[in-house]
């Protein structure tokens, strides 16, 4: 494709539009972005260096708030929890999604698969808050999950999954996995449909089984789609808020506290704006620090 030909600036008669006239098109978007995103980012940085209750005068404390984020067990644990959630929000949907997509690849054009496309997208369309409410009820002590467990003879392990110190975080993680599994499966399936079928035929002729096919053809061809799934789901885990706010409010104890919720509590209930802002800065940096390497990984594969 002669894409490079389109990449050069619209030269010649368009030259006049590259200056003031063109900038008039950018300015409105830039203004909204500056006022409601860039300025707040700068202010978060500024707040993070002060001790402020949101009302009275503020005192300069330097990096003390950052020290607190990494030494106060409550704050630090929220960061640790966010990383634990990656296992559920990211690893499960991507690995399971790959396995499912590879299995249903051959029937991707069937009517059942078309219906499935719609159904699997439902969790992406509904508010996360609704997902949180539905799952809180499913995971309750008299909920469907326990009913199913008793049915298969596992009545011994039933409990209030979201209220138990040991299971609350995995339970919240499973809600996230439910939300993201469909999206990952369909993204990966769409990627698989672009793989040249001749590759699979050749592998079959060489006597390769389904597993060999999966490892040598499917996964390497899906590098970019996998990177996208990982990026989207990792960000969803680190920045999770809605589901946890509804399902556990960070409890029991602090077992499901995540940075997003902690920032909300610190800033608007405990009135520790400085600490909240320091945690917010750490969260923003973490998200970028996780997203960038994944992008580079995907780009390298395309060269």
């Amino acid at each position: 494709m002669p894409r490079s030909a389109h990449r050069r600036p619209a030269a010649g008669r368009l030259r006049g539009a590259r200056g003031l006239a063109g900038w008039l098109f950018v300015l409105p978007a830039l203004a909204f972005y500056a006022v409601f995103v860039l300025r707040p980012i700068a202010l978060t940085l500024q707040y993070s260096l002060y001790d402020w209750d949101g009302i009275g005068p503020s005192t300069w404390v330097g990096a003390a708030n950052y020290g607190k984020v990494f030494t106060d067990p409550d704050l630090f644990d929220s960061l640790v929890n966010a990383f634990k959630l990656i296992v559920f929000f990211s690893a499960i949907p991507v690995v399971l999604g790959l396995a499912i997509a590879a299995t249903i690849r051959r029937i991707a054009a069937s009517r059942l698969a078309l219906v499935a496309r719609t159904v699997l997208f439902l969790p992406q369309v509904i508010p996360l808050v609704a997902a949180g409410i539905a799952w809180s009820w499913l995971l309750a002590s008299t909920g469907v999950i326990n009913q199913l467990l008793s049915l298969v003879g596992l009545g011994g392990v039933t409990r209030a999954w979201l209220g138990d110190f040991a299971t609350a975080l995995p339970a919240v993680g499973m809600i996230g996995a439910w939300v993201l599994l469909g999206l990952c499966t369909l993204l990966l399936l769409a990627g698989m449909s672009k793989i040249d079928p001749a590759l699979y035929e050749a592998a079959r002729l060489d006597g390769a089984g389904p597993w060999r096919e999966f490892v040598s053809i499917t996964v390497p061809s899906l590098r970019q789609e996998i990177a996208v799934c990982v990026t989207v789901t990792v960000i969803a885990a680190l920045a999770s808020f809605d589901i946890i706010y509804i399902a556990t409010q960070g409890g029991p104890g602090n077992t499901t506290m995540v940075p997003g919720l902690q920032i909300f509590y610190l800033a608007f209930s405990e009135r520790e704006v400085g600490t909240a802002s320091a945690l917010a800065v750490v969260l923003m940096v973490l998200v970028i620090a996780c997203a960038l390497p994944i992008q580079w990984f995907a780009k390298d594969g395309n060269k």
């Binding site: 389109h6 619209a10 368009l14 590259r18 200056g19 063109g22 900038w23 098109f25 409105p28 978007a29 830039l30 909204f32 972005y33 006022v35 409601f36 707040p40 202010l43 978060t44 707040y47 499912i100 299995t103 249903i104 029937i107 059942l112 698969a113 219906v115 159904v119 699997l120 997208f121 439902l122 992406q124 509904i126 508010p127 996360l128 609704a130 997902a131 409410i133 539905a134 008299t142 909920g143 009913q147 439910w178 469909g182 999206l183 993204l187 769409a190 970019q224 789609e225 989207v232 920045a239 808020f241 809605d242 509804i246 940075p259 997003g260 920032i263 917010a280 923003m284 998200v287 997203a291």
Partner: protein, 274 residues
């Protein structure tokens, strides 16, 4: 061939299990919503006497009419303006290549992965100082700003592939930059614009954090934010809460089912590009 057929059957079975898992929460909400209000139904059990009236009661208790209207107003405030500003900026950066386009684009890309929690604290004080707290503008204006990185990124990706010759000939005919944009490029960008519109609609309608922080009155929030308040108020009445949740997710569900093909396409493209 036998392996192929066996694989197809495994695939079908797996697909059905997956769909069942996806639908289970909805089914549970629905069945529970039909139980007598105030009871604690155990698991999935069809009630002896289905209480269809629970939906009506939840509709009234949650003041659903006002909530719907509020969400519609917020969407109407956010989506058209975000599309217009994002398309204009994407056009100037991707097609006109304004001087400094690279730098501005990078500045926007910087905000692509921004978690809203990162800026919610200063946004609160900023919106308060603007005197907009507890109005719908408190959700609308920040959301437009927060959606700019994605909108610009999305539209630029479209405009970058538009051939320069297209504009050159239009300019030769004496069209100014605005006419060029309005008459030639916007019509050609319609597929990209409608996908963007679908994504922005979903993200606005389901926005929770901004709604609970910046607006106290549930009747002035998004549907999602109102559901949070509804849970606080009716959290102990499980059947009513389930009925309310179902009602609140119905509008997106209906719109999704009507435009499902566009939605699926937009969501898949959206995550690929984002």
């Amino acid at each position: 061939m036998i392996t192929a057929r066996r694989e197809a059957w495994t695939g079908r079975l797996l697909l059905i299990v997956l769909m069942a898992v996806t639908l289970l929460p909805f089914l549970s909400l629905f069945v529970t919503a039909l139980h007598p209000s105030g009871t604690y139904p155990a698991g999935l059990a069809w009630p002896g006497d289905p209480q269809w009236g629970n939906f009506l009661r939840a509709f009234e208790a949650a003041n659903m009419g006002a909530l719907l209207w509020s969400s519609v107003l917020i969407v109407l405030g956010v989506v058209p303006i975000s599309i217009l500003l994002g398309t204009m900026a994407g056009f100037a950066i991707g097609h006109l290549r304004v001087i400094g386009a690279r730098v501005v684009f990078l500045l926007f890309v910087l905000g692509l992965t921004l978690p809203f929690e990162g800026v919610i604290t200063p946004l609160y004080y900023q919106v308060r100082d603007m005197g907009l707290l507890n109005t719908r503008w408190a959700i609308i204006l920040p959301l437009i700003g927060l959606f700019m990185p994605f909108s610009v990124f999305w539209m630029r990706a479209h405009f970058v592939n538009m051939p320069a010759e297209l504009s050159e000939s239009a300019r030769m005919d004496g069209a100014n930059v605005w006419q060029l944009f309005r008459r030639i490029h916007v019509p050609l960008a319609m597929p990209a614009i409608s996908s963007l519109g679908i994504l922005l609609f979903l993200w606005t309608w389901n926005q929770f954090l901004l709604a609970i922080v910046l607006v106290d009155d549930p009747a002035k929030r998004t549907m999602s934010g109102a559901l949070g308040a509804f849970q606080g108020q009716w959290g102990t009445d499980i059947p009513l809460l389930c009925a309310g949740s179902l009602l609140i997710l119905t509008p997106t569900l209906v719109i999704f089912l009507i435009f499902q093909r566009h939605f699926v396409k937009a969501l898949l493209q959206g995550s690929l590009k984002g």
